[in-house]
């Protein structure tokens, strides 16, 4: 009881001023976020309605109401699940490929002093600067060429392999730079200690260095997965076969049908394809920030 009364006897006397430092940034952020929030709101609403007028769901006669689950009927369509599987394969193989190549390339670029190291780094930066669109035609010819070569024709034109190959290469500049940044932050002494303890160089890389850059690996895999999941241009350009299409190209086909486009159905497919990404993002945004913060300091 005594303790309690003592606590009560010390009231907070800090003067309260209006927190402008918080209000102003939040206002600005809100102004930019409102269009996005409204867009997402529209998607969610329209997937459950026959039609919409503005942000209000309406029925076929134009009266407010008309909520329906019809737009989600595509979930019963087996082709959609095949496309989802395709998309998943694309995203995971892309992620694995990017991780494998960029971690090893990043290590080499961070640690080994070889001829052409700087120009290599510079040229990957330039590649990153090219919009993928400008390279589409050139890539098409490369893929056509690969199609004609035996053994590696699974990476040719109109194959999932080809799309994965091209997607990996467009992701690599970012991946390599990111991994290099993380490796740069690891002190040399750690590698030296491992070498003296009896590790080979490869084992040092695998057992000592990779655990040090786990945040970077996590960030890069999330980023690659999301990119692969939502990629459209490359699958659309290099896979014409509807059997190997992915969700984004399927959505595109929905909108190009000659009959009037059912935007509510398109929105439903869109929302469906967004779900894994949103789910992923909520749990991993901490790591994703590492990319934009320019590489966290390696460590536990």
């Amino acid at each position: 009881m005594i303790v309690k009364s003592k606590l009560k006897a010390s009231p907070q006397t800090i003067p309260r001023t209006f927190p402008w430092g918080k209000v102003i940034p939040f206002t600005i952020l809100l102004a930019f976020s409102i269009p996005l929030i409204l867009g997402i709101y529209w998607i969610v609403i329209s997937t459950f309605s026959v039609s919409t007028r503005g942000l209000v769901p309406v029925d076929s006669a134009g009266n407010p109401g008309g909520l329906t689950l019809a737009n989600w009927s595509f979930l019963k369509d087996p082709i959609l699940w095949k496309l989802t599987l395709n998309t998943f394969i694309l995203a995971t193989t892309l992620t694995l490929g990017v991780l494998l190549v960029s971690s090893m390339a990043g290590y080499a670029l961070a640690r080994i002093n070889f001829k052409g190291r700087k120009s290599f780094l510079g040229s990957t930066m330039i590649l990153q600067a090219f919009p993928a669109t400008t390279l589409l035609i050139a890539t098409y010819f490369v893929l056509r060429f690969i199609s004609g070569v035996p053994l590696i024709s699974i990476f040719g034109y109109d194959t999932m392999g080809g799309v994965i190959l091209v997607s990996i290469s467009t992701q690599l500049p970012l991946g390599i730079w990111l991994m290099k940044g993380f490796f740069d932050a690891i002190p040399w002494d750690l590698e030296r200690a491992a070498l003296i303890d009896g590790c080979s160089r490869w084992r040092t890389f695998r057992q000592i260095l990779i655990p040090q850059i786990r945040p970077g690996i996590a960030a890069l895999s999330i980023f690659s997965f999301i990119t692969g999941w939502s990629s459209f241009l490359i699958p659309f350009s290099f896979m014409t076969n509807p059997d190997t299409a992915v969700i984004s190209t399927y959505m595109n086909r929905l909108m190009q049908e000659t009959a009037p486009v059912n935007y509510s159905a398109v929105a439903a497919v869109g929302l469906f394809s967004l779900l894994p990404v949103i789910f992923f993002f909520i749990f991993t945004q901490k790591y994703l920030l590492a990319i934009f913060a320019g590489g966290m300091k390696g460590g536990s």
Partner: protein, 358 residues
């Protein structure tokens, strides 16, 4: 294990960072590499460890040439300034990592880890992640990791630089004690002369890739072979002044600026007298009095606890001297400095070599 370096040189790109380093280390000896940043001491250590390859020269462990051996085959243990612990492993895993790579049995690893941890006083921490340890504890783990494989040679790369002053003094004696008890040959790189003086049997002083001197701590201090050694070793640093020497009636005199000349005792008289000479005198060999000697102004007093460092000035030239606290000297006082001529050093101003010791 004996270690010898013969004419070791090292080039980075086209810059020569080590120039013909020669060094012999006896079995069980504790040798310190002392020098300012960038003098090549860590490079030399990394060449001994096998991480860097020497551009030319031979490295011998006992009588075997080890130039081509990779680090893990050299039977060495190394402690780093940043500790370089494997932060994703716990203390036990850090300690036994090298044993695990040698495919030792679980019992052997447990026994070795227990022994080493007891010796380092970290027995109760074996299950902890290293990130949860204090700096001193991490240092002990790093030392334990180097010791657990019972190496023939211990390498230290400024291992105490990241510790606070008190812990540093404590670990200094502890490392020396462990090294002495185990009888392992050790090389210790440091830029801290007190560490080098207090721990090492012999000190190799390096500057700009050149070995300046390699001798016992007392010889390094009392008989500096170059001007660099004289000014780098000793705290506060030695006073250096330009003088001329003059022989008269079989006696040698030193002329100081200001027209004063002092007689040099025979044991401090250089045999050969070059044109330009620099004289060195340590602060503790200058006596501050008020009666006789050279007149100086007291410019600044810096108390250090045990001594007060007193900086005296005359015509732009400054002398550093020492006085016991309670001396009554104040800033701007007029004092007179008496030189202990039996302790002075002479150097050739051009070659910077000592005229007394070779």
């Amino acid at each position: 294990m004996r270690v010898s370096l013969e004419k070791i040189t090292k080039d980075f790109r086209k810059v020569r960072v080590l120039q013909e380093i020669n060094l012999d280390i006896k079995d069980g000896e504790f040798v310190a590499f002392l020098g300012p940043s960038g003098c090549g001491k860590t490079t030399t250590l990394l060449i001994v460890s096998g991480i860097y390859k020497a551009t030319s020269g031979l490295i011998k462990f006992d009588d075997t040439i080890v130039n081509k051996l990779v680090p893990k085959d050299r039977n060495i243990g190394m402690v780093f300034q940043s500790y370089a612990l494997y932060s994703h492993m716990n203390v036990y895993q850090n300690l036994t990592f090298s044993l695990m790579l040698k495919k030792k049995s679980k019992q052997e690893m447990d026994k070795a880890a227990k022994e080493t941890a007891e010796m380092m006083g970290i027995g109760h921490l074996l299950g902890r992640k290293v990130g949860m340890l204090s700096g001193g504890q991490q240092q002990r783990v790093a030392l334990g990791r180097a010791l657990i494989k019972k190496p023939g040679l211990l390498l230290f790369d400024e291992p105490l630089s990241n510790l606070d002053a008190r812990l540093r003094i404590h670990m200094r004696s502890e490392i020396k004690k462990i090294q002495h008890d185990l009888g392992t040959t050790a090389i210790y790189v440091t830029h801290d002369q007190i560490e080098a003086m207090s721990m090492a049997d012999r000190i190799a002083v390096m500057n700009e890739g050149i070995m300046q001197a390699y001798d016992t701590p007392s010889n390094i201090h009392d008989k500096p072979r170059t001007l660099f050694v004289a000014t780098f070793v000793g705290n506060p640093p030695m006073n250096i002044l330009d003088v001329t020497l003059k022989k008269e009636n079989g006696k040698t005199y030193v002329n100081l600026s200001g027209g004063l000349s002092l007689e040099i005792p025979p044991e401090r008289t250089p045999e050969f007298i070059p044109e330009k000479v620099k004289m060195g005198i340590r602060p503790q060999d200058l006596e501050i009095g008020k009666k006789e000697g050279l007149p100086y102004n007291v410019f600044m007093i810096e108390p250090t606890g045990r001594d007060d460092v007193i900086i005296c000035e005359n015509k732009g030239f400054r002398f550093t001297c020492l006085a016991t606290p309670g001396h009554n000297i104040k800033e701007d006082d007029k004092v007179k400095l008496a030189f202990d001529m039996g302790k002075v050093q002479f150097f050739d101003a051009d070659t910077e070599k000592s005229l007394l010791w070779n």
